[in-house]
């Protein structure tokens, strides 16, 4: 059966997009999004999107990686199987730095990628908008705005009027097919 995904419209002018983002936010909408062919400076601020916590995840993972690396080298070299090699101490910070560095980077990188996927709720195999030809222009030549029908403020006529007043073109209701 067909269900309503929401209302979409397109913009050609990036400045208009930023103004529209503020306009929609000021009306109180929460479930809306902009889809742009390239990253648009200032869009996050205009939409009121909060800073991501991803850096803190990366930082924590980095500290964990460093701790694991130091512990690994100390335990294997000085506790579990001490061997005298070239008269060097069983454990010292100097030769441990490269491995500590590598494991810090490894943990940080993995945590950043996995964290990014998790925070973005990726992978998503299906989007309500994906089969709409107008939406597909977001990867080509237009800035697409979508307002989700699940938003409490969603109202077919009012939302359509709002988008049109903000300068959106080809404003239309988008439906999708659900098995």
């Amino acid at each position: 059966m067909n269900k309503t995904a929401g209302i979409s419209g397109i913009f050609q002018d990036p400045d208009l997009v930023l103004k529209a983002a503020e306009g929609i936010r000021r009306e109180g909408y929460r479930k809306y999004d902009f889809h742009t062919p390239y990253p648009l400076h200032g869009l996050d601020a205009a939409m009121g999107i909060k800073r991501t916590i991803l850096p803190w995840i990366a930082f924590g993972a980095g500290l964990l990686g460093a701790a694991v690396a130091l512990h690994l080298q100390w335990w294997t070299g000085a506790v579990d199987y001490p061997l005298v090699i070239g008269g060097k101490p069983f454990f010292a910070f100097e030769p441990s730095i490269p491995i500590t560095f590598e494991l810090t980077i490894l943990a940080t990188a993995i945590a950043t990628v996995v964290g990014m996927f998790a925070l973005n709720r990726l992978p998503q195999w299906f989007s309500k908008w994906q089969n709409d030809p107008q939406f597909q222009r977001a990867t080509d030549d237009a800035f697409v705005v979508t307002v989700d029908a699940e938003d409490p403020l969603y109202h077919t006529d009012k939302t359509r009027a709002l988008l049109e007043s903000l300068g959106a073109e080809h404003v239309r209701v988008v439906e999708y097919h659900e098995e």
């Binding site: 400076h41 930082f59 060097k88 100097e94 030769p95 730095i97």
Partner: protein, 392 residues
């Protein structure tokens, strides 16, 4: 939107810079003369620190500008003029190198007056001899001054031109001159600093000096940019995005310095050979271990954690604190390289160490202020200026 004036000749900022420059130069020269009369050799070592510190920053500032032409960077046009103006100190190096030329016997006594029967130094005689050394110093300075007049000169010329011929010339010249800069800064580090103790050598030494100088240059650029912003000048160009960019570079190249410093240290630590380890034994005894630990702390650990976050790089107070700490750390680094060869049995530190440093610092400010009076503080007519404009 760009309502700010780009000619700062009449601004309090430039006037104050000039006043501090005059005072510092005068005080520094008087103290230097007193210092020379008290202890000539110690003064020369102090002078060498001041020379490699301010000279390295000025020359590397010009290199930073050249790098922007080499990479055709757009973002940096908003801040590129600052290192071009501080690079105005470079031509003075022709005169400022003279104390080193006249003091070569005192500074580099190890190889100027080698002990009889020293086979190693006899083998290095064809490179480390006074006439060739002095010729090399002038070649380095000559290439740096040439680099300054070509790159910065073309950048100034662009201000009054409608076509982009001067910028095109810089695009062309920046590649070969970058190679010349890389060679001269490496060999200048070998000659001026490493040959203080000619038995010891490290092939990474040139990169070490370069990386430290680049941190120093970026710290100076950042300090001037923050000061300009605080004075309400050029605020259309010195946006928080640009300041964030400067913070990122400062942070990244400080890690580069730490990487180079550690690369040198780990190889010497592992091999533990008497002729190599002496560099670090000199710096881990008789109080020098405190200086070494302080260097590790303020040249890496503190600025690393201070500038790690985006918020601290965008906050002008923390960014300025990071730049000031790193500029001081670079100075400590130069002191740490030079002074153990004056006396490694005590940490020599008194007012004398600051005398030539103040004098050359004053001249650095005077040269910069003079350039600020004569030139626009933003490269007008640069083809990428629009790209660098505020995106706030």
């Amino acid at each position: 939107m760009n309502t700010n004036s780009t000619l700062l000749a009449e601004s309090n900022f430039v006037k104050r810079m000039q006043l501090i420059g005059v005072i510092a130069t005068a005080v520094g020269i008087i103290l230097s003369i007193i210092g020379m009369m008290i202890d000539m050799q110690r003064f020369l070592f102090d002078y060498l620190i001041a020379f490699v510190f301010w000279g390295g920053i000025a020359v590397t500032s010009v290199f930073f500008s050249m790098l922007q032409f080499l990479t055709r960077s757009g973002w940096s046009v908003a801040v590129r003029r600052i290192p071009e103006l501080t690079g105005g100190f470079t031509p003075l190096l022709f005169i400022l190198v003279l104390p080193i030329v006249f003091g070569v016997g005192e500074l580099y006594h190890h190889w100027v007056h080698p002990e009889p029967g020293d086979v190693i130094l006899a083998g290095k005689q064809s490179w480390l001899n006074v006439p060739f050394f002095i010729v090399r110093l002038f070649v380095y300075v000559g290439i740096w001054v040439l680099m300054y007049f070509v790159i910065v000169g073309n950048s100034f010329k662009q201000d009054t031109r409608n076509d982009i011929t001067p910028t095109r010339r810089n695009w062309m010249f920046s590649a070969p001159i970058t190679i010349l800069y890389g060679i001269t800064i490496t060999f200048a580090a070998f000659d001026l600093l490493m040959s203080l103790y000619p038995h010891w050598f490290s092939t990474i030494y040139g990169v070490y000096y370069f990386s430290g100088s680049l941190v120093g240059a970026l710290a100076v650029i950042t300090i001037i940019a923050v000061s300009l912003r605080r004075a309400g000048l050029l605020t259309d160009w010195l946006t928080s995005d640009r300041m964030h960019d400067l913070g990122k570079l400062l942070f990244a190249f400080n890690i580069f310095w730490a990487y180079i410093a550690f690369s040198q240290y780990i190889l010497i630590w592992y091999a533990d050979l008497p002729e190599e380890i002496v560099f670090f034994t000199y710096r881990s005894e008789h109080g020098w271990e405190v200086v070494s630990l302080l260097l590790l702390l303020i040249h890496f650990i503190v600025p690393f954690f201070l500038l790690l976050s985006e918020d601290t790089k965008r906050n002008m107070n923390t960014l300025l604190a990071g730049a000031v700490i790193l500029l001081f750390a670079h100075l400590l680094d130069m002191y740490w390289l030079v002074m153990p060869y004056y006396d490694h049995d005590t940490v020599t530190l008194g007012w004398m160490e600051f005398a030539p440093l103040t004098a050359l610092g004053g001249l650095f400010l005077l040269a910069t202020a003079r350039q600020f009076r004569r030139h626009h503080a933003i490269p007008l007519n640069d083809p990428f200026l629009a790209e660098a404009g505020g995106t706030q």
